[in-house]
Symmetry: C2
Subunit: 406 residues, 2 copies
């Protein structure tokens, strides 16, 4: 039994071949809760995100955000001696996570069958855009490529114009957490059976998972319902969506029984029973009229905050549409640690999204830092793998290992 303050994943060992976003999100969930995560970065330059968001002191804020608490091992993966080091490490590991283009692990001699020979019960989690199998498996691994192929992009934006793309890493982050779930499920299984396995986690599958009604409505209606984007309004209930007001936009969810709450707020109780206005379907048929009515009413308030307060009095589900700037100082998000301030020894103090899960047994964040490139090279080569200082020096001299200032 471990003590109450010992981190949740203390002792769990992960060899992490991931870069960019989806893979690092997966291993972040473990590193931030105390697992030993060795992040393998390709020499000479490592994770390409080390070149992104270098806003301060040549240090990548992007890298820091996704890689707190991971141990950087920067090694030449195009050299047999680099691969040999990886094979030496595998028997020390519980889990290997990678998000190379499918086929790359095999070309390095590190596919699941090879790993299994090195450690019989190893768990390999492979994360990719379109998955390890199928005709599109080797498509380039960008979030928006998978988003386009899965009908997701088609559901975002003005229906009379090209679709819009969300400027966040929604698919990558969700895929990383699906991967983290998969890893724990495989560990759960291994503890009961002694067997490892290979996990195939794809952005395409994860994005498709997000189709709430679209897939069953299209297939269930035998193609009669053709789901498409609706701009700023929902397409199957009404009123529900973004409404413009003085000073800002407002999210209003006044469908079903909430329509009467909105009518009460607007002091228009007669609308609740007015012919052609009583159901969501009827209101959808006159969407423009409904939106005009609500927005005309919203214009009577000097500010959208007053309109929000009025609707809240009447129990209408409503929210201001905050900018990222607004969120940084929002009392609720600060209270919960949704936004978390970190202090990096090279980049100083700045904000990142906090751990998205609150564990009652581990209420505090660990005081983690992000490694500079290859910062843990010496530790891993000499302490974990028991090579000599001379061998370490030789590996460095031969460019098998590399280290950087940032």
């Amino acid at each position: 039994m471990t003590g109450a303050t010992e981190p949740l994943f203390e002792g769990l060992k992960i060899l992490d071949f991931t870069r960019a976003l989806a893979g690092p999100t997966c291993t972040r969930m473990f590193a931030e809760m105390g697992a030993d995560v060795i992040k393998v970065e390709s020499a000479p330059n490592g994770d390409l995100t080390r070149q992104m968001s270098k806003i301060r002191n040549d240090r990548s804020l992007y890298y820091i955000q996704q890689n707190l608490g991971k141990q950087s091992l920067c090694v030449n993966l195009r050299d047999p001696r680099g691969i040999a080091l990886m094979k030496e490490l595998v028997p020390h590991m519980d889990v290997v996570v990678e998000n190379f283009k499918p086929g790359r692990m095999a070309s390095m001699g590190l596919d699941y069958e090879a790993l299994k020979e090195l450690k019989e019960d190893i768990i390999l989690c492979s994360i990719s855009a379109m998955g390890q199998t199928g005709p599109l498996a080797t498509k380039p691994g960008y979030d928006y490529i998978a988003q386009a192929y899965t009908g997701v992009t088609s559901m975002i934006g003005d229906p009379n114009d090209a679709p819009s793309i969300p400027l966040l890493g929604i698919g990558d982050v969700a895929t990383g957490v699906h991967g983290a779930f998969a890893v724990l499920a495989a560990i759960y299984h291994r503890e009961r059976t002694g067997r490892g396995q290979h996990l195939d986690v794809a952005l395409a599958d994860v994005y498709y998972h997000c189709h709430e009604v679209n897939v069953h409505q299209y297939t269930g209606s035998n193609g009669e319902i053709k789901p498409t984007r609706g701009g700023r309004h929902m397409s199957y209930v009404c009123p529900a969506g973004v409404f413009r007001a003085n000073g800002g936009d407002i999210m209003i969810m006044a469908f079903l029984h909430h329509f009467k709450d909105l009518c009460a707020a607007m002091d228009r109780p007669e609308l609740v029973t007015k012919e052609g206005w009583t159901t969501d379907q009827e209101r959808l048929a006159r969407l423009d009229e409904v939106v005009a009515l609500v927005e005309t009413w919203l214009q009577t308030f000097p500010s959208h905050w007053d309109a929000i307060a009025k609707m809240e009095e009447h129990g209408v589900p409503v929210a201001p549409i905050l900018t990222v700037e607004d969120t940084i100082t929002h009392p609720h998000l600060l209270h919960r640690g949704t936004i978390r301030t970190i202090n990096d020894r090279l980049a100083g103090e700045f904000g990142i999204p906090g751990m998205p899960i609150k564990f009652s047994e581990f209420p505090e964040d660990l005081p983690l830092e992000a490694d500079t490139l290859g910062q843990h090279n010496a530790h891993i080569i000499t302490e974990v793998l028991n090579h000599s200082e001379e061998e370490l020096a030789q590996l460095r001299a031969d460019g098998i290992l590399n280290e950087g200032e940032f």
Copy 2:
């Protein structure tokens, strides 16, 4: 040790108080892999999604999609006898999952402290829009409300107009899977320490987790960079986004080194080194010009498919923007089971998103069905709780239990 074909979560027992989407997505991840999930539905009508997507035979396709393999127990939670049954069930359980409005579990006498008295090592996973704590904790639990409060909506849509909302359950689904990860992490911890815990999983935290660069760019630049939406184009690399072509829109990711691939496809190699065009930053500064150039070239193809083929020849990351309709018959998505056809005894055959993770040890879906309302009432009352047939009849007669045809 269990056999190879025994489902991954065989024997794991979950008491599931969830409704709608985020909560049911969490418990779906367990039910589809063989856990015993008892879905508690409030009598008389149960999960409100039983009223949604009733496209065939009064059977909700929505309910089926989210609740395959769960055992429906429909019980009056406003009656002390209903609550007493819940308290009887808890000692049989490993995990309780709920997504009521914060405070509702306590008002039923089923908050974490109460559950812990019934079973010392119980794990409670609470899923909500804004979290269990903080000034906005009791906000109504809709995906778009959390999306608006976290700056996510502000990052989607035309920068000169109101934001758009994605017509999918992205936040709900991602939150459900964050919850499933949290449950397994708590089980992992319990197996090592004997202790349970309370998990607080919020849409707001999960949505915030999706901010790839926005939070660190705003805070790291001391407010100089103010992230906002960019319509159909990315705002920090270029060209990257949605481009219009004959017959359909195309997602093109031709930033960084991929710009030269696009120039090769366009037979414009001189652009790679042309002054003012060589870096993403320079191209962003002339975004309109870049888009016009690419779209003029796309117009030279009779169909967007030809343009895609040409770009693929040159290694440009590119994808057609498929509609939901297009996805249903797509060979890659069918090959992987990304879309899965199920056959419901009441609603017949239709498609839903498949299990988003592929486990090598469990390649096949279990042949699961969704329960009708209260279908497992009798089993749970008489077999799990060992009440008599007479007691069961009395509970039914008194409206403590309810059953429905669909």
